[in-house]
């Protein structure tokens, strides 16, 4: 598992438990408290006996005292479905180290913590394979920069298998496979964050914890998708991953910038003197996201792809009570 997370980190992650602020709504049994009444050791309430009730749950002490029949109700413990929305678009390949690597590590850590807590983990990489072009497709001859790398058929099949395997993972014993499949994922193609999140929100049978790992650099925005998740009842955590060079550009001069995903061209004259203005732009961008997330009770983190993983996982996420 050293490929994604170190053994030491895994050992420390095992001690953590994801905190859900809402009662689990899953129909499947788990270790999370839910509003449902069922079988557990946690007493919940009494109910008047009705014929047909299991006599095992009659409170005999109460019957002796009141001469009436009551049935003891227990809290049902359900699982917490954890959906990890992993941005696997072309733009995540940028950065040193690449943003996608960092995102996978975070996904692995969150997934591992969830698996340890007997929660169901599903990883939703987006864009879909169908949206990723083939290498020969859509080349713009005039501008080599706009040509998407795409995926060949062999990789495509591998990706399909890995994605299918990550659809639903449960149990600590599945962690090894979970990590393997996660490391097989590749980032390619243009993403539509809103569409992916909305679809994810609709597809989920029960709402749970949604973790969005993305750079949020989508021309279409992120608001609609996140709103859809929140509206579906998800508890949403957003970890925005940005490359260092996105925060501090190092290329100056008369530039023709090519968007890796859309192929859009932007001509820019950039110099050191405009660095401050760029920083302001980035801060405004982040500020808008932060404001949006605060308004929708979404936990929001920004991380550079060269951030120390342990610092993020064990300190910042813990401090934000993502887990404890």
């Amino acid at each position: 598992m050293g490929a994604l997370l170190s053994a030491e980190l895994l050992r420390r992650l095992e001690q953590l438990q994801l905190l859900a602020q809402r009662r689990a709504k899953s129909t499947l049994k788990g270790e999370r408290r839910s509003r449902a009444r069922g079988h557990s050791v946690e007493f919940a309430d009494y109910r008047t006996y009705a014929p047909g009730d299991d006599l095992r749950y009659l409170d005999w002490n109460l019957y002796a005292r009141l001469d009436r029949l009551f049935v003891k109700l227990y809290e049902e413990e359900r699982e917490l479905p954890v959906r990890i929305f992993l941005d696997a678009s072309e733009s995540m390949n940028f950065g040193q180290p690449p943003k996608f690597d960092f995102a996978r590590q975070v996904a692995a850590a969150i997934g591992y913590v969830a698996l340890c807590g007997f929660d169901r983990v599903s990883v939703v990489p987006f864009p879909d394979l169908a949206e990723i072009p083939t290498p020969t497709g859509n080349p713009t001859a005039a501008n080599p920069g706009t040509q998407h790398p795409g995926l060949d058929s062999e990789t495509r099949a591998q990706q399909a298998a890995a994605r299918a395997a990550l659809r639903s993972v449960r149990g600590k014993k599945s962690a090894v496979q979970f990590f393997e499949h996660l490391s097989l994922l590749r980032a390619a193609g243009p993403a539509n964050l809103n569409q992916a999140l909305r679809r994810g929100a609709l597809e989920a049978r029960q709402p749970g914890l949604a973790v969005v790992l993305s750079d949020l650099l989508d021309p279409g925005g992120y608001e609609a998708g996140l709103k859809a998740l929140v509206g579906r009842g998800f508890q949403v955590d957003v970890v925005q991953i940005l490359a260092p060079e996105e925060l501090d550009p190092t290329t100056y001069g008369d530039l023709r910038l090519v968007d890796s995903e859309t192929g859009a061209v932007q001509e820019v004259t950039f110099g050191r003197f405009r660095l401050k203005a760029y920083h302001n732009t980035v801060q405004q961008f982040l500020g808008r996201i932060r404001q949006f997330c605060a308004a929708h009770r979404i936990c929001f983190f920004t991380a550079r792809s060269d951030t120390d993983l342990e610092e993020l996982l064990l300190k910042r996420l813990r401090a934000a009570e993502v887990w404890a």
Binding site: E90, S91, M92, N93, F94, G95, K99, N143, P144, G145, D215, L217, D218, P219, A243, E246, T251, Y252, G253, D254, L255, R256, L257, V258, D259, S260, E261, T262, A264, V265, Q266, E267, V268, T269, F270, G271, R272, F273, R274, A277, Y278, T281, V282, F285
Partner: protein, 613 residues
């Protein structure tokens, strides 16, 4: 205050402005860079974004700066100017003082060079319709350039000016300038001088538009202002060389005064010149041949031209005097008194007396008019006077003591019984006058020096007075052609030298102080030569065949030796012109605009650099 252009054709360069704009319309080549997303870059949309070869013009500071730069350069090339504080005149007369004192080196390289530079600046500020005249005022006024607007010609004319060792004749130049500006409404006379000029009182009431540019700072100078050589009265082998050295500075000046004869050092005398004063000096020197005495000051001062002066000294020759008289012992004795006179007495004159240096006609009418210089006593019926009468007992009321003939001569106690009454002819000056008639006249008539005494000596008490032999001695000296010839061999710088050969000459050459020989043009069949090229002080030798004559050109001008610049130029008693520091009219603006263009260029470079690096 209007802006005018000296070179409006340069505005054609404004055609560069569309070219600059075209460059901005064209697409720029850019470095292609793949980025994860252009989302964050939207604010940094380049000013010149385009996907076609031509693009819409955007607001771009770089373009604005470049347009400003082009405009500034075009404007500088078109040479705009505004009238400066001075009035823009249509005609300017530049008078460049080329006198000796302008060679002073108290300002580097010299006053003349500074004046020339200032005049050239004035040329530079000349408007395209203004005209300028360049006059060089040395010993003579030379029109170096007549009225023109051609700046090249004016600059060439100024470059051709050179200072001489001559004193200034500013009057002549101002008179010329005055005639040039007559009937010109807008005219200015710009005088570039140090103010060492003679009296200009005749311009007192002319109200000349004179702008005086004073050059020079003032320095130390000592110079020779007088030089003369005389035979020693007692020892005919000795010569007395008289020199006067003026010190213009306010400090006593130690100086070594050297006397040379034909380049040979005879005596060197250390003296200290009193401050702002003149020190007369007399050297005694033996002389065994004709030659040139040179007095030289050994010191380093700001004006070198007046540190040396030369004088030709000829060995005294016996003066052959013919006295035509019916008998006058007083006169005879007085004529014999100077030791160098060979006196011949004759009762009448029948020929032109060619062999004599001078003839004395004592109340005798000659049959043939004598050719030599003449002392005529009581000689009335000549063609010298328009009318002749007599006056009885004339009283002497005035005599000219300043004339060399009346040196040490006194008429205090002289009575005259009867004298001829004549009007003063135009060729003579009256030396002794009574209320009715001049009694003694002296002058030159057709190169013949004449002294006329209008009364019979024996009918007066003059022969009994001490002044009589002195006067006769003075007269012999004055009339002696050799003496006048020697005196004529020294001219002031800039003045013409005139020489009469014994026979007509066909060609002659002049060897100047610089040692170079120049041919001198001679009028055919004429024995007279006039040499005007005496701008340099020093010893000149004139050669014609085997004949040779030496003459000296000296400055000997106390006004020129006083080199302190005069901030005020007095025009007579009341009017004066103050040295001006007025900035020149027609201020050209192109240097400032060019500097601004340079600044814009730097700004543009900085701006571009700042954007891209």
């Amino acid at each position: 205050m209007g802006l005018s252009l000296l070179a409006p054709e340069a505005l054609a360069f404004a055609a560069a402005i569309p070219v600059v704009i075209l460059f901005y319309l064209l697409k720029r080549k850019r470095q292609v860079k793949l980025v994860s997303s252009t989302l964050l870059w939207e604010r940094f949309l380049a000013e010149t974004q385009a996907s076609k070869p031509f693009q819409r013009l955007r607001h771009n500071w770089l373009l604005v700066l470049q347009l400003l730069l082009v405009l500034a350069v075009v404007l500088a090339l078109s040479r705009p100017w505004v009238p400066g504080p001075g009035k823009a005149s249509k005609l300017r007369i530049v008078i460049l003082d080329a006198s000796a004192s302008m060679q002073a080196t108290d300002v580097k390289p010299s006053r003349f060079e500074q004046a020339r530079a200032e005049a050239l600046r004035l040329v530079g500020s000349l408007g395209d319709v203004d005209q300028m005249v360049v006059l060089q005022a040395g010993a003579h006024t030379e029109v170096k350039q007549s009225a023109t607007s051609d700046k090249t010609a004016l600059r060439r004319a100024l470059a051709g000016c050179a200072p001489a060792d001559a004193p200034t004749r500013l009057t002549e130049a101002l008179k010329l300038a005055e005639t040039l500006i007559q009937n010109r409404a807008e005219a200015e006379i710009h005088l570039f001088s140090d103010g060492a000029v003679p009296d200009l009182s005749e311009f007192e009431n002319k109200n000349l538009p004179l702008v005086y540019h004073c050059v020079g700072r003032g320095g130390r100078n000592a110079g020779l202002v007088a030089l003369e050589v005389r035979p020693h009265p007692d020892d005919p082998t000795q010569r007395a060389v008289f020199a006067a050295v003026a010190n213009g500075s306010t400090n006593p000046e130690p100086v070594q005064v050297e006397l040379l004869f034909e380049g040979r050092l005879l005596e060197s005398r250390p003296v200290t010149l009193p401050a702002t004063n003149t020190l007369p000096m007399v050297f005694m020197a033996p002389q065994d041949q004709d030659g040139v005495f040179t007095v030289r000051l050994r010191l380093e001062d700001d004006l070198a031209a007046d540190n040396q002066a030369s004088i030709v000294s000829l060995l005294p020759q016996p003066v052959k005097v013919l006295l035509v008289s019916r008998g006058n012992r007083f006169l005879e004795k007085a004529l014999k008194a100077p030791g160098y006179v060979q006196l011949t007495v004759a009762p009448a004159l029948a020929d032109a007396a060619e062999g004599f240096d001078l003839v004395v006609l004592d109340d005798v009418y000659p049959a043939v008019w004598p050719a030599p210089n003449l002392l005529a006593i009581h000689l009335a019926p000549t063609n010298w006077f328009a009318s002749v009468g007599t006056v009885t007992g004339p009283v002497i009321v005035d005599w000219k003591t300043t004339h060399s003939l009346l040196r040490f001569v006194n008429f205090d106690n002289v009575q005259i019984a009867e004298a001829l009454k004549v009007p003063t002819p135009d060729w003579a000056v009256p030396l002794v006058e009574s209320p009715d008639t001049p009694l003694v006249l002296a002058g030159q008539r057709q190169r013949q020096r004449i002294i006329w005494i209008g009364f019979d000596l024996l009918q007066s008490t003059w022969p009994l007075r001490l002044s009589f032999p002195i006067f006769i001695a003075n007269a012999v000296e004055w009339l002696n052609p050799a003496a006048s010839a020697a005196a004529g061999r020294m001219v002031r710088a800039g003045e013409p030298f005139r020489w009469v050969w014994a026979q007509p000459v066909s060609s002659a050459e002049l060897i100047g102080p610089d040692g170079r020989a120049r041919p001198v043009s001679c009028a055919p069949g004429s024995s007279e030569l006039v040499i005007g090229d005496t701008a340099r002080q020093g010893i000149y030798r004139l050669k014609a065949g085997t004949n040779e004559v030496t003459f000296c050109v000296n400055l000997l001008d106390s006004a020129e030796s006083r080199i302190d610049p005069q901030p005020e130029l007095p025009l007579g008693k009341y009017a004066r012109v103050t040295a001006t520091t007025m900035s020149r009219a027609g201020l050209e603006l192109w240097p400032g605009i060019a500097a601004a263009a340079l600044g814009l260029l730097l700004l543009e470079w900085w701006f571009y650099h700042r954007r891209t690096v």
